[in-house]
Amino acid sequence: MQEWANQLCENRQFGSKMTDSKYFTTTKKGEIFELKAELNSDKKEKKKEAVKKVIASMTVGKDVSALFPDVVNCMQTDNLELKKLVYLYLMNYAKSQPDMAIMAVNTFVKDCEDPNPLIRALAVRTMGCIRVDKITEYLCEPLRKCLKDEDPYVRKTAAVCVAKLHDINAQLVEDQGFLDTLKDLISDSNPMVVANAVAALSEIAESHPNSNLLDLNPQTINKLLTALNECTEWGQIFILDCLANYTPRDDRESQSICERVTPRLSHANSAVVLSAVKVLMKFMEMLPKDLDYYGTLLKKLAPPLVTLLSAEPELQYVALRNINLIVQRRPEILKHEMKVFFVKYNDPIYVKLEKLDIMIRLASQANIAQVLAELKEYATEVDVDFVRKAVRAIGRCAIKVEQSAERCVSTLLDLIQTKVNYVVQEAIVVIKDIFRKYPNKYESVIATLCENLDSLDEPEARAAMIWIVGEYAERIDNADELLESFLEGFHDESTQVQLQLLTAIVKLFLKKPTETQELVQQVLSLATQDSDNPDLRDRGYIYWRLLSTDPVAAKEVVLAEKPLISEETDLIEPTLLEELICHIGTLASVYHKPPSAFVEGSRGVQHKRLPGSAGSGESVESPDTGSAAGVSEAPPAVIPSQGDLLGDLLNLDLTPPTTTGPPPPSSGMQMGAMDLLGGGLDSLMGDESEPLGGDLGGSPAMGAGFGAPPAAMPASFTAPVSGGLDDLFDLGGGVGMPMGAYSPPKTVWLPAMKAKGLEISGTFARRAGVIQMEMTLTNKAMSVMTDFAIQFNRNSFGLAPAGPLQVLTPLSPNQSIEVTLPLNTVGPVMKMEPLNNLQVAVKNNIDVFYFSCQYPISMLFVEDGKMERQVFLATWKDIPNDNESQFQIKDCHLNSDAASNKLQGSNIFTIAKRTVEGQDMLYQSMKLTNGIWVLAELRVQAGNPNYTISLKCRAPEVSQCVFQSYEAVLKN
């Protein structure tokens, strides 16, 4: 204290360094003690200085909570600065000292009545920040008054306070009717109040997706648009974001809103600009394209977007991510603005990479020369990541703009000549893609590529090179030598390279069978016998079996003509793009993921969709093609980037999935089962299969294989065989589990007309602890289908295929096959709406098809879902009553025992039964694959076909699905 006083004197003497840094100087022991004494000093001045010191310590993260009572004592003062400082302190520490915080309540309540509106507002604002339940109770009355205060400054502060209170205690806010008051404030006379009310409601609505809080109708829209012109820039953002959620009734309303929003495009605040762009992009969908105004609007959108790029780099980054979406949806807006995306060498790297992406999106025949010149420039820059991306971009240009392909290839060759290692590798990877897009056109460069074989050290480049050698084996004289050189270090290669090498050598063998027999045997044995990787092993077996069974068929399969890759790579999938356009300016737009995928706390965010075009002039669209068709006449085929949801599907041949997760139970057993089945097959396999078959036959894997569920069944070699097998296993299943789990009947998931002739119907089942997807694939097209593969989108429970889709023979026209796909639950998780929705992509040689289906959640009930009685009781009590939901099951004529039995088959376990006044109460538990427990009370009254079920779960969102499963199980 002495030191502090001294210093103060010193400061006074010199009168110069009167800054707050002095508050940082006392860091000695006993500091708290000294401050305490000062806070209790009689002198006002000393008190204030002391509070300032406390605040200073707080800002740097020191714990000064021990001073709570002393600081609160200083609160009753008429000095506004001191009051504010004490309030600052209170907000920080009230949570840790709730009992003490109560002491402050009276002062707050008194301040809320103060004649000075500044103090009223300050008090209500601070009270809302004190997150202590006891205090919030006292807050209600003052808040109610402040919401109706005569002074708009107080009202707008109070509006935000409702959002704060909601965050602390949502129920209280609803009970007290604050939400309605808040809704009334949307019609307030003061635009600032309107803006804050909208902001508060939007925040509250985010945690209540279905609450319909912001019920927008033409009247409220009109009020919002009026307030939009007069409120602060931040208020404008809130209002614009709120407007974007509105769906206009017709194109006329849409146009009038657009007209009133366009002036915002000239705002200095870039967030306002981008929110306005969002509203316009969304409402534009409804305008008929032949309207003059539509063209005017398109023109108006370009300049503000360009202007965003001259802002600070952080703003540029967000703007670029959004522009990336906008140019995919409406490339015409920025098609003349290519040059603003040219990279400056002192741009931050994150801006450079984004600019590059957009340059490619905008590349067209008209500007390709400029773009290529730029890209070549970038390829000699310093930053490795950027150089790589630039080289890749050249390849993408070649694929996108056919006329430029030749120039791109020669540019790439120039770059290869530089011998800079990473440039060469990138170039080879993209040349592979160019080969696929333009087969038989640029193969003259292969010789140059082969020169660089030794310098390749990255798996992707090696795999690409191997693919090229395999694909063009007949034109490369020493292809066998080249591939053999790779084979030496086979086990040190990454899976990607190994798989590619295997395929390439098989291709080579099929092309030059005479000289390469030894090589192919070597690689097959390396893949099947010495490798632990199930993918590699399976592929090895498949090739082996194919080659030995029917080399002609093998040739047809392995050397089949590949589908051309489409021109634009990594476009965002159209439905996702539509959703993201609705989220322009948000985090979702930065990450290019739907908000449901990552925003925490946004429980069940609703997927937004663009409004359909009103287009009265062009309305011959069928209803199910919906809005998408209205806008993009020919939706481009999509190749998502690697690592993306479907990346692996299309690249199956090039970059096979590298997951080395749990090996699918199929591999060992598959061969075993094969051998069992077909003595005939053995002979077909010839010599090579002998060691193989013998090896497997003796292995325990096979014995175990039979006990294992039919999940492991290979889908089929030929349809009839597989049918027979299924029968066999159905029988086995019947013996093992008398009460088979409920499995709904197959339904058509993908109608043939939507999938170029492929019809898929299917269902889900749980057999002996394994979740299965059972599908019937029917070819209703005129041509043969091959190369089936399947992939799931991320889903609520992480369902993922446990193995590849086993359709090994081509599916000829009018043929159907049954496929059973075992699933696991270790895939990536993303919450879906509804919860049990599963989005699936199936690929074949024709195209990729998407469909979604819903699985019964009972499939996810695990076998050890029976809870101990005591635990059940405790858990039931422990889960808050809010989480309980009640349902009625109608028209069910089982008695309680039968119901219990039936449910047990689906892993819903009855723990106890109680009979009260002729009513049976079954207490049941089940556990989901992700460890969520669901507790149930099922009430069955004799003679009454209606059951009542109460479900309790810590994750109440599953209740609805669980109820549906109950209903399905009980009624079947």
Binding site: D20, L118, A163, A199, N269, Y345, E600
Partner: protein
């Protein structure tokens, strides 16, 4: 909305934190430090980071990171704009925005932050409004405050907060009434090896300094408003008038503010004031290279080019330089490998030239990349786009103000590739 703010200096110390909702542990910044480590240069740290429970949005200004933590879906631009506004406010209040000055004024900073954001919603961000509530520190005031015990927090309701013109405070009085406008244009350009323009555009801004008594209503008109098709305005500008008559009509904020920014796009021809002849080459053997740069005037509209400066980021292998400048001085920073040639005024009769040899690290391979040249320059009394203010009228007040318009053209991101 915005949950918390951390201020971090470039060495990675958190020296201030502010929470608007519940307190978030500063350990959340570890994700940022990780990204910072990875990015090497502070400029390259990605501005939006995802962590398991939060999002971190960062800006880098004046060697400081302003890191905000958010938990729900918030428009990132909104956050970034706000953070820049915070930095602007510090600059405005304290004259600069640095760690030292923020620590010196930590209590004011804290009060400001509390006033600027409530529960994550922006409250008052206009400097006029803030200054009415929290007075900026001056040496005199802090001495007076210390002696008399009065505070620097205003106790009246800021008038601007509720009126339809929140940017202007009421009751402004000056003895000298004056209004100055600076038209500043920056040329962003990329020239290629041969001197052809790859890309060029003009970023213009009109900065105003208006000290006028009462509630003046100003109208600023241009000789050639057609040049401006891409503009953003200060909220005070009446957009309708601009759309219909192409004049700027506004009630100005008090003091300094940015009236408008504009952008003359690459579609129009942009005049390039200088040309650069350069040759930087490295020899395959002998570990040396040559450099020869000459600068001459091109389209200067008869004005003098001043403040000419050339900056070259040399490849890492360049150890030292041995050059002669016919005009001005040059320095080569060994640590950052930056060559700066400060030329000064461009004399069209005697063109400045810099030439000589570069010596390289022994054994280093010939550098792959070609260094780019960055040019700085300044031309007084010229707006390179040709924009001209024709008149300024004042309505609503009776006195006669002093009026003035200044023009200046500068190089923005002006690069020459080699």
């Amino acid at each position: 909305m915005i949950h918390s703010l951390f201020l971090i200096n470039h060495t990675g110390d958190i020296f201030l934190e502010k929470h608007w909702k519940s307190v978030i542990s500063r350990s959340v910044c570890d994700y940022f430090f990780e990204a910072k480590e990875k990015a090497v240069d502070p400029e390259n740290v990605p501005p939006v980071l995802q962590t398991p429970h939060h999002y971190l949005i960062t800006i880098y200004r004046g060697k400081l990171f302003f890191l905000s933590v958010i938990q729900t879906e918030v428009p990132p631009l909104f956050v970034i704009e706000f953070l820049h506004r915070v930095a602007d406010t510090f600059q405005d209040y304290f004259g600069e925005c640095s760690e030292v000055i923020i620590k010196d004024n930590v209590v004011t900073v804290y009060e400001l932050l509390e006033e600027m954001l409530d529960n994550g919603f922006p409250l008052a961000t206009e400097s006029n409004v803030l200054k009415e509530m929290i007075r900026p520190p001056t040496i005199l005031r802090s001495v007076v405050n210390t002696l008399t015990g009065s505070s620097n927090v205003g106790d009246t309701l800021p008038t601007g907060q509720l009126s339809n013109i929140p940017w202007r405070r009421a009751g402004v009085k000056y003895t000298n009434n004056e209004a100055y406008f600076d038209v500043i244009e920056e040329i962003d350009a990329i020239l290629d090896k041969s001197g052809t323009t790859v890309f060029a555009e003009i970023q213009g801004v009109i900065e105003a300094c208006v000290r006028l008594t009462g509630m003046p209503d100003l109208t600023l008109s241009f000789m050639n408003p057609r040049l401006l098709d891409d503009v953003s305005f200060h909220p005070c500008v009446r957009f309708k008038r601009w759309e219909s008559e192409r004049v700027l009509s506004f009630i100005p904020p008090d003091g300094n503010f940015t009236l408008m920014t504009y952008h003359v796009s690459s579609q129009n021809l942009v005049a390039i004031p200088v040309y650069v002849k350069q040759n930087i080459s490295f020899f395959e053997t002998g570990n040396c290279g040559r450099l020869d740069i000459t600068i001459g005037p091109k389209q200067t509209m008869g004005k003098t080019v001043e403040g000419l400066m050339v900056t070259v980021h040399m490849p890492k292998a360049v150890l030292s330089t041995n050059l002669t400048a016919s005009q001005g001085n040059y320095t080569y920073d060994l640590a950052t490998k930056v060559l700066v040639w400060d030329v000064g005024k461009l004399n069209p009769q005697k063109l400045p030239n810099l030439r000589g040899s570069l010596s390289m690290q022994a054994g280093a391979p010939k550098p792959e990349e070609n260094p780019s040249l960055n040019i700085d320059l300044k031309i007084q009394q010229l707006a390179i786009s040709g924009l001209k203010v024709s008149r300024l009228d004042m309505y609503g007040e009776k006195y006669k103000p002093f009026k003035g318009v200044k023009y200046v053209t500068k190089a923005g991101k002006f690069q020459v590739r080699t």
